[in-house]
Symmetry: C2
Subunit: 258 residues, 2 copies
DNA sequence: CGCCTTTGTCCCATATTATCGAACAGATTG
DNA sequence: CAATCTGTTCGATAATATGGGACAAAGGCG
């Protein structure tokens, strides 16, 4: 049940703990981080200087900040993903057509990871929720995640469901395994998944999987504030999403399996 | 003169070397990486498993790939930058108005680092060069870099120029310090910098600095293929760029020093 | 103006720990 | 079915990250 939480190389784990801490604070010095992580100053200092030398951190006036290097590494790895190469433009135009905040999502280690998110901002209220929207969450907690999960091989589904214990994020999160499995059947049937605010209260969305005979490449999603989304769910929005997902799938298949 | 190339913590340097190698290959196994880096298999394997456990790498079928975590870390650190918060929309609309490939660039450790790049693609030819455009390069090798460099404090300018030895990237790269210094005077005078293909042959661009009384926040740039850019440089493009930069600066100043 | 705190940085002995070679198992290929 | 590939595991050794303490400098406060 309990995963191997033993990380082989400790310095690296420590290094990323510092990065995480630095990420929350935006900018910090060695002492501040050492206190927060209850580590010796000198150790933290060593790590900071190491990361700075490698170009991942920038130091300004004794204080340290995350550099652009992480962004560049991340963007480069994203750009090589086939689903992104074939889906990027489609997601962007989906955002324009639907007027919603749209995402391109992939599965990663049992989590749904957003690798593209559009900037379409209808109103200020949505903007706030949009910025708060997490870039990574368990598959079962959101529409694109459920859309992907529903089309994974059965053994992987059970594996993922078993490992995570279906803890609730909001009052609407699916916490019962039977409910989840029956919902996935529905998703496979109708071709799209719905999130009624199961990850973030009030954030309602629709998502369709990008799936070929071989595997699931990811999912396309459109999100919005609950009040204005509820009626959209009964109209053309689901069709729009599934069309976009189909376009991307067709584009991938046409380009060849590679 | 020679910088401290001694990296305190060796495992971390090694870890990022593996990440770099993995970045180039997109996907690779332990043996392949071990051969490329001339390291023992087991060491590389340890690093891979460590990074995978931390969520930065994903393993699929024994092979490893960079995960979306780097992207998320990078995006989050970017989103907290004031120049990005105030400049994001302006750069995007600049791309629409000008019809060019536009960038928002900051200085980082003597380099120009692109933290936003638009997706406006006039033609296929530009798309290719656009994708090849590096996200990080020495300040003196490109328009936004020179625009930033020109407005840094004098001591930092000499410090940066001294450290880098002005090696040529193309035939047009500025390699003489006096030339560079006189060009920077021109840039300060006319308010914008020009790149006639000094970093990538044929990639011509204009850039204007986002500068307040206190400091340089970065630069806005517009790039295009050489043939179609040369005439644009004599027309309204430079004005468009400087206006955008001024808009962003005004937005930052208005929001307060914070 | 000077004290006192707090910062970042440096040093070095010690023991933690990352390393690395070899061996194992599974898959793939000839 | 043998021969290579792969990824993985194990364990002893030596390398090395650690962390306590000391230093200088900057900042705050009386």
């Amino acid at each position: 049940m309990d995963e191997d939480l033993v990380v082989p190389i400790n310095s690296i784990k420590r290094s990323y703990a510092i990065v995480d801490e630095l990420r929350e604070r935006g900018r910090a010095g060695a002492t501040e981080l050492a206190d927060a992580l209850s580590l010796p100053k000198s150790t933290v200092h060593n790590h900071l200087r190491t990361l700075a030398t490698l170009g991942y951190l920038v130091e300004e006036e004794g204080s340290y900040r995350l550099g652009a290097q992480y962004l560049h590494v991340g963007q480069e790895s994203r750009n090589t993903r086939t689903v992104f190469q074939h889906g990027r433009d489609t997601v962007e135009s989906l955002a324009e057509k639907s007027g919603r905040y749209c995402q391109l999502v992939i599965e990663e280690n049992g989590d749904a990871a957003v690798i593209q998110s559009t900037q379409w901002v209808p109103d200020e209220g949505t903007r706030a929720t949009q910025q708060a929207y997490p870039m990574r969450a368990p598959l079962y907690t959101n529409a694109p995640g459920k859309a992907i999960l529903a089309h994974l091989p059965p053994e992987r589904i059970t594996q993922i469901v078993e490992r995570q214990d279906l803890t609730a994020r909001t009052e609407l999160t699916v916490t019962d395994e039977d409910d989840l499995r029956s919902e996935m059947a529905t998703i496979r049937d109708q071709g799209y998944a719905i999130d009624r605010g199961e990850l973030i209260s009030g954030m309602v969305g629709v998502a369709a999987p990008i799936v070929t005979e071989k595997c699931v490449y990811g999912a396309v999603a459109a999100y919005g504030a609950g009040n204005e989304m509820r009626e959209a769910l009964d109209e053309s929005l689901p069709d729009l999403i599934t069309e976009s997902a189909d376009d991307i799938r067709a584009d991938i298949v046409f380009a060849g399996p590679e």
